[in-house]
């Protein structure tokens, strides 16, 4: 079995007294869509800049294709495509000229390939227009185009959906999934959009204040959450609340419009139903709530990540 395509070992970055990234160790396997999550200022972008040799680590090492990149970073950058934060280009030049300039820095990337990626992101008809005339969404799409220009094996995307409308976000996600399926790329996706990670990522890691909190397959986090968070539709509400409050294995009862949410262990759920029916409550539905947002709320205790 081949080793991880990208890994970090005790990666750290210090700015004066502040430790922006603290002993971060990650492994991303080939073919994964790896979600890299964390609140604003958690060190995600700093980590990505270290992965791309834009900033030098204070400690630790980045390994790409099993070898430390510090020894010969240009060699590895040829296999990596990246979009770091928002896409910035030479605004007075056209999209095609921008891509042709970048193509010159790679072997075997010609003008036809520039046109091909522009068509892929839906910008071929605007290829000769100066980038300064592009909307934010068009610039982000051009950002994806420059990242995949040289058919990289690993694509590193730092919040690619930032500032896009729902349609734009949908298109970017479709593009990412298409690249993984059709080109076999591995994707490292930094995001604070939890539904984005939930929809397309196969594994993920969560960073907070520069430290790794958790990492693993996305399904693992979703199933763990499904076992505890539950939504209930039942009448009358006062009586429902009273019954739930009397059950010692039910916690975090939360009023919601049209229903209640509470936490209960998977094997205790039948007992909740028994107690409710015994008290004469009419139960319309009771189902586990399964999404990453709830997981993060439990992890961080706030809605900061939901941003």
């Amino acid at each position: 079995m081949p080793g991880p395509i990208l890994a970090t070992a005790n990666l750290s970055k210090r700015y004066g007294k502040r430790l922006a990234v603290d002993n971060l160790s990650l492994e991303i396997e080939q073919g994964e869509i790896f979600g890299f999550l964390g609140p604003n200022g958690s060190g995600k972008t700093t980590t990505i800049r270290m992965l791309l040799s834009l900033i030098k680590p204070s400690g630790g090492e980045v390994f790409c294709f099993g070898e430390p990149i510090s020894k010969n970073y240009p060699r590895y950058l040829g296999k990596i495509g990246a979009l770091v934060e928002k896409a910035d280009f030479y605004l007075n030049l056209s999209a095609l000229t921008n891509l042709k300039m970048l193509a010159r820095l790679h072997e075997n990337v010609d003008e036809a390939r520039c046109r091909e990626v522009l068509a892929l992101v839906g910008l071929d008809d605007r290829r000769n227009d100066a980038v300064k005339t592009y909307s934010h969404g068009m610039q982000q799409r051009l950002g994806i185009a420059q990242a995949i220009l040289h058919r990289p094996q690993l694509l590193i995307l730092d919040e690619p959906s930032t500032g896009l409308d729902p349609q734009g976000m949908h298109e970017i996600r479709g593009m990412i999934l298409g690249l993984v399926r059709q080109e076999g790329m591995t994707v490292f996706l930094s995001s604070h959009l939890l539904n984005e990670v939930e929809q397309i990522c196969t594994s993920m890691a969560v960073l907070n204040e520069g430290k790794l909190l958790v990492s693993g397959p996305v399904k693992q986090f979703l199933s763990a959450e499904a076992a505890t968070l539950t939504e209930l539709q039942a009448q009358p509400p006062e009586q429902v609340r009273q019954v739930l409050a009397g059950l010692p294995f039910v916690t975090e009862i939360d009023d919601r419009q049209g229903g209640l949410r509470f936490r209960v262990a998977y094997d205790q759920r039948p007992k909740v139903l028994q107690a409710l029916t015994a008290a004469g409550v009419e139960v319309f539905s009771m189902h586990p709530v399964s999404n990453l947002e709830d997981y993060f709320l439990s992890l961080f205790g706030s809605k900061e990540m939901a941003g």
Binding site: R49, L52, S53, L54, I55, K56, Y73, P74, R75, L77, G78, I80, A82, V84, E85, K86, A87, D88, F89, Y90, L91, N92, L93, T97, M101, L102, R104, L105, H106, G143, Q146
Partner: protein, 280 residues
């Protein structure tokens, strides 16, 4: 790869409007100055004849195109660095400000290669600017005021150079001037890798050159030891081309200083740029 990077840097440099400010300014100033010389030429010639008439027999056109070009060199070589910093100042810092390093430095190229290409493009720009000045002043001067022998008067005496020899001296002077301006480019580069704001290197270079130039011309014995070691002191190297014989020893010393300063600036630029964290 370096050639491809150089092509890219030339595209970036020459696609910006600000690159042409210097060329445009010279295209206005030089013809205007030549017009001034043509209007006041007879008076200038009378003054020269009055000053030198007792000792020399004056014939022909003294206020000719070569003479005017030589006068212009004095005036413009002080100001050309201002124009050069406009073009070269944002070579590195401008990319930081625009955020384009994020797409450019994440390519299979080393930072040394990128900086070398930028330096070569900026050197091309500054050399073209000096060549443009030469072309304009000698071309327009010769066409408008005519060719003729050139009289050079300085503190040490009077030198009369036949026009055919003078043309060679102009070529040498412009070559030295290109070298001077390259040292200005390297200073601008050093400041450009130190900051992320494109205005900083422009203002910084000008501030350093102005202070150093003032120190270079102050006639104070206490500063003599410093003056000869300042970069701007050796900016007089182009003037040696109009001495007879050319003081090659002084030329060599000045060129050594200019190349030495440029080498230090370039070396520091590479060290700083390789260690620089791209935060923008």
């Amino acid at each position: 790869m370096l050639w491809r990077l150089y092509i890219n840097e030339c595209i970036k440099t020459f696609s910006k409007l600000r690159t042409y400010i210097g060329f445009g300014a010279l295209a206005v100033v030089v013809p205007l100055a030549m017009w001034g010389f043509s209007v006041g030429g007879s008076e200038i010639q009378r003054n020269l004849a009055n000053q030198l008439g007792d000792d020399f027999l004056m014939t022909g056109n003294l206020a000719n195109g070569l003479w005017a070009s030589h006068i212009l060199m004095f005036a413009l070589f002080i100001h050309i660095p201002f124009l050069i910093t406009l073009g070269a100042g944002d070579a590195v810092a401008g990319e930081g400000t625009a955020g384009t390093f994020r797409i450019y430095l994440t390519r299979p190229v080393s930072r040394n290669q990128v900086l070398t290409a930028k330096l070569l493009a900026a050197a091309t720009y500054s050399s073209l600017l000096v060549a443009w000045l030469g072309l304009l002043s000698l071309g327009i001067g010769s066409l408008w005021l005519g060719l003729g022998d050139i009289i050079i008067i300085d503190g040490t005496g009077i030198l009369i150079l036949p026009w055919d020899i003078a043309l060679g001296r102009f070529a040498l002077a412009y070559l030295f001037a290109m070298l001077m301006m390259l040292s200005v480019v390297t200073l601008t580069f050093l400041l450009s890798v130190l900051v992320t704001n494109a205005v900083g290197p422009i203002v910084g270079t000008l501030a350093i050159l102005i202070v150093a130039s003032v120190l270079s011309v102050l006639e104070l014995d206490a500063l003599a030891w410093l003056q000869t070691n300042l970069l701007t002191y050796h900016f007089r190297v182009w003037r040696y081309a109009f001495d007879d014989p050319i003081p090659w020893s002084d030329v060599g010393t000045s060129i050594a200083y200019i190349v030495g300063y440029a080498g230090v600036f370039i070396g520091l630029s590479y060290i700083v740029f390789n260690r620089k964290d791209i935060m923008t």
